[in-house]
Subunit: 231 residues, 2 copies
């Protein structure tokens, strides 16, 4: 199996955190130059990373990849044992995935104040606030997203809260974690978890590479290499 992934991509970080926490080490990570040449649709019609390449074909969408990994490695599954616990893990993961991350991604173009449309920014940040409110009700109180051990809900929440904290203020809206009690306590505590710390470091590294121009140089080198290899 090969995972098409990038350091900074929060949806990719989610899958990497799951792989680390499940102890799966035979998945290769790659980010082909074609991703930067506007050909991600070669990999996935949805046009987003991560994408998991398996023997039968490609699997896009981090949440679908997450379920596939649990299906393939049931002994290491991070989903919980009873239908009820599994439903709560899926629920918190979904709130983070759809109501937080997906809306934040749609809102990112509104960071630019010159081209911002307030109605778009307000619609999406309203959805994010609503999602954070639901998360505040459903999140666990013992240092983990659900119950008293790490689950897939943590693997989604950690990148989602990183994305929220780093980008929502750039929309000139207060970081919605600040208005919470239980989510804020969780966010403080989970950053001490080794797998959370690892993906947070990777996303930080990706952010620095974007900001200091290293990422651009890496992309240009990858594209040049790809072109040189063509017949």
């Amino acid at each position: 199996m090969k995972l098409i992934t990038g350091d900074l991509s929060p949806y990719s970080a989610k899958v990497r955190m799951q792989l680390y926490a499940m102890g799966i080490e035979d998945v290769e990570f790659d980010l082909p130059a074609s991703f930067f040449m506007g050909k991600l649709s070669d990999y996935s019609p949805i046009g987003r990373i991560p994408v998991l390449e398996v023997a039968e074909g490609i699997i896009p969408e981090s949440e679908v990849i997450a379920d596939y990994l649990d299906d393939c490695y049931p002994e290491q599954s991070l989903l919980g044992s009873s239908p009820w616990i599994r439903s709560q893990v899926r629920l918190v993961s979904r709130i983070a995935d759809i109501y937080l991350m997906n809306n934040i991604f749609m809102a990112l173009p509104q960071i630019n104040r010159k081209t911002r449309v307030d109605a778009v920014r307000d619609l999406l940040t309203g959805q994010i606030t609503r999602g954070m409110g639901a998360l505040e009700q459903h999140i666990g109180r013992g240092g983990y997203a659900v119950g008293n051990r790490l689950t897939r809900a943590d693997c989604t929440l950690v990148p989602a809260l990183f994305l929220c904290e780093r980008t929502v203020p750039m929309l000139d809206v207060e970081n919605p974690i600040l208005a919470t009690t239980h989510v804020a306590a969780y966010w403080d505590e989970i950053q001490g978890n080794e797998f959370a710390a690892k993906v947070l470091d990777e996303m930080d590294r990706g952010l620095r590479a974007r900001q200091d121009g290293t990422e651009r140089k890496q992309i240009e080198a990858a594209i040049a290499k790809e072109k040189a290899q063509r017949p």
Copy 2:
């Protein structure tokens, strides 16, 4: 188990179609008057139906309910047997759920031309078009959403395509099914399936009840009954 559901709600129709197709008959359907009195948050912090009430508490979000039902009734599961097939069922269901239905719901307030913000309408219908393009690539070619039998992907797609066909043109954007080949062929064929036909009838009935004022009368009667029962 009790399902808080409404005829017209496509997310509710998705769960009902799954229950019908799995042959689960011991789930009661209900839509309490409090839903119409602005108290859905009594049931779910997310504030949407359907919600499944089980012994341990409430489960919101149709996709989470769908997984819970598969976990509780593994013999009747509509998810497929191999990890690969399950991933494809989850993928098509997710495209319908997030990229079609969720964006259509967010776009509904834009039906009103007097208050419409074009940038909001265009952002969301752009996402719907992109989702339909991905669906066109991933959808099965044999009359079902995935493979050669009914799966959970059909239970999501049927209400999603109903919603798409009925509401996107009201945004002054062409029904995106018309630009497809495989999705259009699927949509023609699946309407002959007995479980699809049943929920399509229910959604039609819900739409008529809204349009001809029956729904309003039912709501007023339910609220009056609820108030009369209070001490």
